[in-house]
């Protein structure tokens, strides 16, 4: 704005040490001990960052603050954030997405049972944040294969105990009947499970999903159109959690 004010303001460039101090101060405001160093060569265009960007743009619109830097990456296609997400968002102070660290499709040959396993690292959640909701999001593509009734049953389990010599002990979280022609994001509420994982991380043995036809025949998840690691980047499964700040952030003296 005012040229006179500007001329009175920054009259010199910051020295390198001053710039570092400035960075430290702003990191402190952001509640970070140091700058994160993510490995994000191509993951900027993964589904989780795109979903979060969608939420960011929603917030920016709600705040009604002129946002000249409205970010649009490759967001063409089906909307990522649902009405339920918007409801969670309005109540949240922080939202965090988690990429699956280990995702593998397996088959238990004796029973010919197929399943897909996911594992998420929740150890990076900042202190003082209370999780209010969390969901697993999986993208389902339309499949041309025809099964009985044109439907199949998708079940999601929490792994309770792993065994070397036999199948893991599972706890059924949800079962859902899906149409083969259905396409879009599937959202599964895993709030209770992820709260348990936060409170006792040794219980975090991940999730499993399995799919079977109405006659009980086990299907591979990709046969049912469920996109996995080998699928398109913007359709990768991920977990998202909504948090409410439960304690005031106190900045330590430097």
């Amino acid at each position: 704005g005012n040229s006179e004010v500007q001329s009175n303001f920054i009259q010199r460039r910051l020295r390198i040490s001053e710039k570092r101090e400035m960075q430290k101060e702003i990191l402190s405001i952001l509640g970070l001990p140091q700058r994160p160093r993510p490995h994000v060569s191509h993951s900027k265009f993964n589904s989780a960052p795109l979903f979060m960007l969608d939420l960011y743009n929603t917030i920016s619109e709600e705040e009604e603050v002129p946002n000249p830097h409205r970010f649009v990456l490759a967001t063409e296609g089906p909307p990522l954030a649902s009405a339920q997400d918007s409801a969670f968002l309005s109540d949240a102070d922080m939202v965090m997405s988690f990429v699956s660290l280990a995702e593998h499709d397996m088959e238990i040959s004796l029973q010919r049972r197929h399943f897909r396993a996911f594992k998420f690292n929740l150890s990076q959640i900042p202190d003082g944040e209370a999780m209010t909701a969390s969901e697993l999001r999986i993208y389902k593509e339309c499949t041309s294969q025809v099964y009985e009734n044109g439907t199949f049953l998708l079940s999601i389990y929490q792994v309770v105990q792993e065994h070397q010599d036999r199948d893991a002990d599972l706890f059924l979280l949800e079962s859902r009947t899906l149409w083969t022609a259905e396409e879009g994001w599937l959202e599964f509420d895993i709030t209770a499970t992820s709260n348990l994982w936060v409170m006792s991380p040794h219980h975090n043995m991940g999730l499993q999903i399995s799919v079977e036809t109405s006659s009980g025949r086990s299907l591979r998840p990709e046969e049912a159109g469920l996109v996995g690691r080998s699928g398109a980047l913007e359709k990768q499964p991920f977990m998202v959690a909504f948090f409410k700040v439960s304690e005031a952030h106190v900045r330590s003296t430097r």
Binding site: V5, Q23, I26, L53, L55
Partner: protein
């Protein structure tokens, strides 16, 4: 004391009143007005800080800052707390020992920041009281 003065003014000729008016107009138009407490633009650029590899959005934000004099009369040209007005009067009576009120934010807004953590998870966090929307005297 104010009512007494008003009464005295009514009895005087119009000349001093005119002088008083022109003085007060001069106050508002002088350099005092230019240096009065107000909001100034200040943009914090995450890009300039070299953080574009981990902050996804925004590129920066208009933090703004408050600067200027909190001089009598406060109510005429800016937001001021009730106490700031009293503080100004006390300052006028005892300028050596009592400071003027401070020019500080009266309205602050939040910003949201979207960033990667070390594990390439994405965090969207709301930070309160980051943007100065209005300044005033405290």
């Amino acid at each position: 004391s104010i009512s007494k003065r008003r009464h005295q003014n009514r009895n005087r000729s119009t000349q001093p009143q005119e002088a008083s008016k022109s003085l007060s107009m001069a106050d508002y138009n002088s350099s005092d007005q230019k240096t009065a407490c107000k909001k100034h633009e200040l943009y914090v650029s995450f890009r300039e800080l070299g953080w574009q590899d981990w902050i996804i959005a925004p590129e920066g934000y208009a933090a703004n800052y408050c600067d200027g004099e909190c001089s009598f009369p406060l109510n005429a040209h800016m937001n001021a707390t009730n106490h700031a007005i009293v503080q100004t009067l006390v300052h006028l009576m005892n300028p050596e020992n009592v400071p003027k009120p401070c020019c500080a934010p009266t309205k602050l807004n939040a910003i949201s920041v979207l960033y990667f953590d070390d594990n390439s998870n994405v965090i969207l966090k709301k930070y309160k009281n980051m943007v100065v929307r209005a300044c005033g005297c405290h």
